[in-house]
């Protein structure tokens, strides 16, 4: 179970990284098309889809690496059961909100599929295809939040606290903010 879950987080993270490189490749193709005078249709639309896929599919992995920011001023000063109670409050709130958001996104994908919506560019794309990246990413984020909520409830350590400890030990500076 643990291995399977970790593989899901890592896998969607790697997929998100793939789409990030995809943005670069598409933009390069666009520059090339202008220099060499061939047509690259709808590249900006595809780059936008890659952006969305990359942003949402990477959410869970980012959480587990403790890169999503939060105000730690109050919670950082708590120890023991108080800290755990606070984490449970945060994780519950996050699970509820993400759950609602994921559900709304799945509903949107379903509507696009039913109505057979297509994009407006020169190359028509069925909208439910890129949109499902968003729904899937949010669903995996929900999974990650619930996963950590269960860890906190059963007295374990959350994935992001573990990541933070590891980061401190490796002494790598917080980057790019």
């Amino acid at each position: 179970m643990r291995t399977a879950l970790n593989a899901i987080y890592k896998g969607s993270g790697l997929l998100a990284g793939f789409f990030l490189v995809g943005i670069a490749v598409l933009s390069l193709v666009q520059i090339g098309s202008r220099l060499l005078d061939f047509a690259a249709h709808s590249y900006d639309e595809f780059a936008g889809y890659c952006m969305a896929a990359s942003s949402f599919l990477g959410l869970a992995w980012t959480l587990r690496c403790n890169e999503h920011i939060r105000m730690t001023l109050a919670i950082g000063g708590l120890r023991g059961w108080r800290r755990r109670a606070m984490e449970i409050v945060c994780l519950t709130a996050a699970s509820v909100i993400t759950g609602y958001f994921a559900w709304a996104s799945v509903a949107m994908v379903w509507t696009s599929y039913k109505l057979n919506d297509v994009s407006q560019g020169l190359v028509p794309i069925k909208l439910w295809i890129p949109q499902s990246g968003m729904a899937l990413g949010l669903a995996i984020l929900l999974l990650a939040f619930v996963d950590d909520l269960l860890a906190a409830l059963t007295g374990g350590t959350t994935s992001y606290s573990l990541a933070e400890t590891a980061k401190k030990a490796a002494d790598s500076p917080a980057f790019e903010r």
Partner: protein, 435 residues
């Protein structure tokens, strides 16, 4: 319920969730949902999904991960060592000597990196031990690095400008170009202060190590050539209108990959680490932008920003009064929340008021970037303080005290761009038309 009561409830929800430590993006979504559920009759679900989809699948946003990736690649090269070796002979004759490598090094690195923490970390990694080893005043070395590191935000490319541009619907290319002169102004003020300080405290600056001839200086500057070429390619292509920010960013990615191939630091594992590092930061910011996009729409439904704008217009505030109030407000907020959250909250609530007061949104973008820079070095929450704490082993309040003069200099810079707004407008006005 009166509108001000609604505002108070939403503000309370925001404050409670933030203080509890709920992730910022989740907090923004939650406040938006409360606003929609409690104070409007519109069903939030469909609106939430479509708004967020529309703002996330956005081409103008693609510059964001690419510039972050470029920074991640350069972070793994020897660029900071090269920069120090290239700059040192040039600044040695100045009062303050090698201390200026902090300011100029950060300024140059800021022109290839979009973030202030990355700038401070990359430059500080080399200058802090070098300056310390040569007997420079430690407080001043740390303070000037903390201050100059924030240039990463103002000098293009800039992550925070992309965030502002997307959230406020202002041209990112123009914002980038508008940041150049204020950035140079800030560098001049920082270096001027260092020189002045050195003249007043002559016993606290080590003597010149060796006198170099002009030929030697030029020869040493060869280390700077690749960096300067990269800056030229990125900023030049935006300024000349040849490339959009996204295209300029991809040029930057390719350029920095070439640099790391030449420097021998590019391995597959390094490449993968740079992609995944960029991904995490980009996802973190994209998630906040997601929350902000929904919050903006939800706030629009409540009517609060409109009412606020109308109230401000009615009071007949002078624009400078509004800017002065906002500066103080942001200074206080900046002590507690990070710059990106500050920018997106501003965009969803305050922008209509700013527009109503007749303030240009591009100028306001530069203003808010400057104030966010100040927030980077105010305790207890300031990312540059975190970085320098890790780098120097000093505690955060020591670093913040060392950086205090530079905080005041930035306040001065805000006043200067208010009195002389041409510093912001001049270059964008000269820009070639975008395709």
């Amino acid at each position: 319920m009166e509108l001000w009561e609604v505002s108070l409830v939403l503000l309370a929800v925001l404050a409670v969730l933030l203080v509890c430590g709920v992730w910022i993006a989740v907090t923004l979504l939650a406040v938006g949902l409360v606003a929609m559920f409690a104070f409007t009759n519109s069903p939030p679900g469909a609106l939430m999904a479509t708004t967020v989809w529309g703002s996330s699948a956005s081409w103008s946003l693609t510059a964001l991960p690419l510039f972050i990736w470029m920074g991640e690649i350069l972070f793994r090269t020897r660029i900071s060592e090269d920069m120090f070796r290239g700059l040192a002979p040039w600044v040695e004759p100045l009062p303050g000597r090698l201390m200026h490598t902090n300011v100029i090094g950060c300024g140059i690195f800021a022109a290839i990196s979009g973030s202030s923490a990355a700038t401070a970390a990359t430059i500080g990694r080399i200058t802090i031990p070098e300056l310390k080893g040569r007997g420079y005043d430690e407080t001043m070395a740390i303070g000037s690095l903390a201050g100059a590191g924030t240039l990463g935000l103002l000098i293009p490319p800039s992550i925070i400008m992309i965030v502002y541009g997307v959230a406020a619907d202002v041209s990112i290319a123009r914002l980038f170009v508008a940041g150049v002169l204020p950035g140079i102004l800030l560098m001049t003020l920082f270096s001027g202060y260092i020189a002045l300080w050195a003249l007043m405290n002559p016993d606290r600056t080590p003597n010149r190590e060796k006198v170099t001839t002009l030929a030697e200086k030029i020869y040493a500057a060869r280390f700077l050539i690749p960096t300067v070429l990269l800056i030229g390619a990125v900023i030049g292509s935006i300024y000349s209108g040849v490339a959009t920010p996204t295209e300029a960013a991809v040029l930057g990615v390719v350029g920095s990959l070439l640099l790391s191939v030449v420097g021998g630091s590019l391995t597959w594992s390094n490449f993968g680490a740079s992609v995944m590092g960029a991904l995490k930061t980009s996802c973190m910011i994209a998630f906040i932008l997601t929350g902000a996009a929904f919050l903006t729409v939800a706030m629009g439904f409540t009517g609060i920003p409109r009412a606020m704008a109308a109230w401000i217009a009615e009071q007949g505030f002078r624009p400078w009064q509004l800017i002065a109030v906002l500066t103080v407000l942001f200074m206080i907020l900046g002590c507690f929340i990070d710059g990106i959250s500050m920018v997106v909250l501003t965009a969803s609530v305050i922008l209509p008021s700013v527009k109503a007061a007749g303030i240009d949104l591009m100028w306001f973008g530069i203003f808010i970037v400057l104030v966010v820079e100040m927030a980077q070095i105010t305790p207890p929450v300031g990312f540059n303080l975190f970085v320098l704490q890790g780098l120097t082993g000093k505690d955060m309040f020591y670093v913040a005290r060392a950086a205090l003069p530079f905080f005041f200099i930035m306040t001065l810079a805000v006043a200067i761009i208010w009195i002389f707004p041409e510093i912001v407008y001049y270059l964008p006005g000269k820009m070639f038309n975008l395709r």
